[in-house]
């Protein structure tokens, strides 16, 4: 018997030592595997900025700013017809911190016409903090945003003490009176109805133990609580508790800690919550699912009011304040709240790019703050446009509901930042990401590459191409007879027309003349980083590429001939908001300015009068938009890639089962493209032509036609102008005069350019 007692003592002692090591290891080491948090771009505000008042207010609401009569604390704003007054929150950016401050904007139409500080002094610029929109979390799907006790509102601490552990600052980890009270209640009820656990015990349970209710687990929990109290101050325990406690569920991600719960339920940081809101969060500690304010608002309100009642009882708040808080609505919001399932497609790309520099494990656990280029407003526009337009097309074409899919990328033309991305029509669905992964035949979207290769070989927009029937014998493969979309041949056509109207035969023949290998090499030069096969049909887009790859290619056109790697991430800060890494802008000229100017004119012609001309009903011609439609065999894929001065967007529409959609590039993808571009304040294409470019009037037969009616002015690389004259042209003199006139205009244009 004595031996048994000795053995039991040693076993208990050993177990206690083991628990002690476990407890200290957890609290002194990295307590939690903190997920990396992903933010949108911050918004620079400055006089001259293009934004409407509703758009700015939309940004503020997404960030959880509250509309008030007089902004008097960070995270509030007021608006009138032309003015928006904002009390900005502070934020730590890669290049320094900004303190909370008031700004006053005047917005007329869609332009910020004045910016002042709180005292009415003019201000150069201000910055709206980025918005947390996602996280890369550990495998067990726990998500949290740490807060320090000193930043936690006193009302929250009081609320917690009032309902969870009144004797917290008095007991030693276990509260015998509370325990006795709970036991009595349980015995009376004939089951477990009351916990009686202290906050310390709850922390021990959450940290180390399962939810099962056994005597053994309870004893272990008590032992651990004693050990916690032995080693740590009360405030340290309380801070750990505030960051640990489970407070809700977002998809398959568990919301832990009050810091993240505040963003999840109210879309605002914890230090901005009022008494009623803090009481509600405290109410959730007892059962985040049972008291879920979205699903069971009445139940949540009752519990919240009970919290408030306890606070009054203990003198933490006066009855007037509590009565006011009881009257308040729950205040939870779905709009703008933090949700891990927001923009998962964009998150995929962030992750993909960061994986080059960070181990997946590091991303999941290191608590990094990742600032991306995501523009929440444009992302919202993309998601809405895709959903609405696909549904409308399905109805119009009698296609099964939900059968169409889409992928969209929107990027800045000057720096390659991806501002929005859709991987499918369900924006919250984190599945197959078509933007990054769907390798589809690209059809005519590839054609500009063939024409660019030709321009680099001395062709011009006025070069005449043969669009007559073509038969290509291929060793070991069937004879290839490319056909035009309308089933007819167009004889001899200008290169610009072959591009504008997307003539297949002329393009196929041109591809063969200049060499398919050359075209494939050009695609590599413009950013494709994998091998593709160069069959003769490559010129017509018989090659499977992803929307991402097409975007990289078209960015070279939209940027004026520069290869700019597509980027999602701007910078990475560590858990303490210290700069860790930056993803700088880089570029490389891959197309000479002269050829680029000529190709750009061709792509503008596609919109002005070619296959994308219906865009002219939606956009004014002075935008000089450029783009290209793409349709594949049997109408299986509908593509459009197009750009203005500031944004390029590439859109794909098709079906996952590869069945025909009945859509051309113009009737499918281009419609979504138009919906998006209408909402992004698109600017005119303004890629200055090199001084060497000559502008000459040309007729429809590719002849010099200065002074002829109906002649079209086209840009030419020196030495590529046609040498044939139209009969109506007044020969050389007028040609020279025309060239001179153009260069004078060009000069005038340039004097105003910085």
């Amino acid at each position: 018997m004595r031996l048994f007692a000795v053995l039991a003592f040693f076993a208990l002692a050993g177990y206690t030592v083991y628990l002690d090591i476990t407890v200290r290891d957890k609290l002194e080491g990295s307590r939690w595997a903190i997920p990396s948090h992903i933010y949108s771009r911050p918004l620079d505000i400055f006089p001259g900025m293009v934004i409407t008042r509703p758009e700015l207010v939309g940004e503020l609401k997404q960030l959880g700013y509250r509309a008030v009569a007089h902004p008097d604390s960070p995270g509030t704003f007021a608006q009138s017809k032309y003015r928006v007054r904002i009390y900005l929150r502070g934020f730590t950016f890669w290049d320094g911190s900004s303190e909370p401050r008031i700004i006053d904007l005047r917005i007329e139409g869609n332009v910020v016409t004045a910016l002042h500080d709180a005292h009415g002094n003019p201000s150069d610029s201000a910055r709206l903090e980025p918005r947390l929109f996602g996280s890369i979390s550990p495998g067990h799907h726990e998500d949290r945003a740490l807060v320090r006790l000193e930043d936690v509102p006193q009302d929250l601490v009081h609320a917690l003490l009032a309902v969870e552990d009144r004797a917290f600052y008095k007991h030693f980890g276990i509260d015998p009176r509370g325990l006795a009270r709970a036991m009595w209640a349980n015995l009376s009820a004939g089951g477990v109805v009351q916990g009686g656990s202290t906050l310390t015990q709850q922390l021990a349970k959450n940290f180390f133990l399962t939810q099962e209710r056994t005597i053994q687990r309870k004893l272990t929990e008590m032992l651990m609580a004693l050990l916690l109290e032995l080693h740590y101050e009360k405030d340290e325990i309380l801070e750990a508790y505030i960051n640990e406690v489970y407070l809700g569920q977002s998809g398959n991600r568990a919301i832990h800690g009050f810091g993240l719960a505040s963003l999840f339920y109210f879309a605002r940081p914890l230090d901005e919550l009022n008494l009623s809101e803090l009481a509600l969060l405290t109410a959730l500690v007892k059962g985040a699912s049972y008291y879920n304010p979205f699903r069971s608002p009445e139940r949540a309100k009752t519990r919240r009011n009970l919290v408030l009642g306890n606070m009054v009882e203990l003198g933490y708040v006066d009855s007037t304040a509590a009565a006011e808080a009881r009257k308040a609505p729950l205040g939870v919001t779905r709009k703008g709240r933090y949700s891990s399932t927001e923009h998962p497609a964009y998150l995929d790309f962030v992750r993909l790019q960061l994986r080059r520099d960070y181990q997946e494990d590091g991303l999941r656990k290191a608590g990094l703050h990742i600032i991306t280029a995501l523009d929440p407003r444009i992302q919202g526009v993309v998601e809405k446009s895709v959903g609405q337009r696909l549904s409308a097309i399905e109805k119009q074409k009698n296609l099964p509901e939900g059968s169409l899919q889409s992928a969209v990328l929107v990027v800045r033309t000057d720096n390659g930042e991806v501002v929005a991305l859709a991987g499918g029509r369900a924006p919250r669905f984190a599945g197959f990401n078509r933007a990054l992964e769907a390798e589809r035949p690209v059809g005519s979207l590839i054609k500009p590459l063939v024409f660019l290769a030709a321009l680099e070989r001395g062709y011009s927009l006025a070069s005449m191409l043969d669009d007559g029937p073509l038969v290509v014998e291929q060793a070991g493969a069937p004879v290839w007879k490319p056909q035009n979309y309308d089933g007819t041949s167009h004889g001899s056509v200008r290169l610009i027309d072959a591009l504008s109207y997307s003539y297949n035969i002329a393009t196929a023949r041109l591809g063969l003349e200049i060499g398919i290998d050359r075209v494939v090499r050009l695609l590599r030069r413009l950013g494709l980083n994998r091998e593709v096969s160069g069959y003769p049909s490559f010129s017509l887009g018989a090659v499977n590429l992803t929307p991402l790859e097409m975007t990289q290619m078209y960015l070279a056109f939209a940027s004026g001939g520069f290869l700019i790697p597509l980027r999602t991430t701007r910078s990475v800060l560590n858990q303490d908001m210290q700069p860790l890494a930056r993803y700088p802008l880089s570029l490389e000229q891959v197309i000479e300015g002269e050829q680029m100017t000529v190709l750009n004119a061709g792509l503008q012609s596609v919109v002005a009068k070619g296959t994308a001309r219906s865009l002219n009903t939606r956009f004014p011609p002075n935008l000089k938009l450029a783009g290209k439609t793409g349709t594949t065999n049997g109408y299986r894929d509908s593509w459009f890639a197009g750009y203005g001065g500031n944004y390029l967007a590439v859109v794909w529409v098709g079906r996952d089962d590869n069945k025909p959609t009945g859509l051309t590039g113009a009737s499918g993808a281009m419609q979504i493209w138009g919906d998006i571009m209408k909402e992004v304040h698109i600017q005119p294409v303004d890629l200055p032509a090199p001084a060497s470019i000559e502008y000459v009037q040309i007729d429809q037969y590719g002849q010099l036609a200065t002074g002829c009616s109906g002649a079209q002015t086209l840009p030419f690389v020196p030495g590529t102008m046609p040498d044939r004259y139209a009969s109506c042209a007044s020969v050389k003199k007028r040609r020279d005069k025309s060239a001179k006139k153009q260069s004078w205009l060009e000069k005038l244009f340039d004097t105003n350019r910085k």
């Binding site: 620079d44 900025m49 150069d124 720096n415 910078s571 910085k754």
Partner: protein, 143 residues
């Protein structure tokens, strides 16, 4: 007599005004500010400050921010090229100067870009960055 005195005074006044305006014209104003945007002007000042202190990343961050507002401003691209040159990132220095050139017909700026490229090029030869030579040959011909 009075008329003569008045007209004499008037003439003197006109002469003074003309002289004053001549003086103003004579003291040539500084080169135009880099931007009409006060924010951009201030950011460029900060970027130069950081560049002088060899805090190149800070300088580049600010210039990239300015370029988001004014992507067509050739002088901003030139500033970025200078940061990369001083940082020893010669390849990108050349590329940004090339971008600056593509956006401007200002001969003074083109000359500055050319000088910058030459500087990068001469340092490239000793640090054997292969991409430098390729770009220089493509864009500017042989030095």
């Amino acid at each position: 007599m009075r008329i003569k005195i008045l007209s004499g005074l008037g003439l003197a006044l006109v002469t003074l005004v003309v002289l004053a305006s001549c003086t103003t014209t004579a003291s040539r104003p500084e080169r135009q500010p880099i931007s009409d945007q006060a924010a951009v002007v201030n950011w460029v000042d900060s970027a130069r400050h950081f560049r002088d202190r060899k805090q190149f990343d800070q300088a580049a961050v600010i210039l990239e921010r300015a370029l988001r507002i004014e992507p067509g401003n050739a002088r901003l691209w030139h500033e970025l090229a200078r940061v990369h040159l001083d940082q020893g990132n010669f390849d990108q220095a050349i590329q940004f100067a090339t971008k600056s050139n593509a956006l401007t017909r200002d001969n003074e700026l083109k000359t500055s870009n050319r000088r910058l490229v030459n500087a990068a090029q001469s340092r490239c030869t000793t640090t054997s960055l292969s991409s430098c030579r390729k770009v220089i040959q493509n864009q500017y011909g042989r030095p």
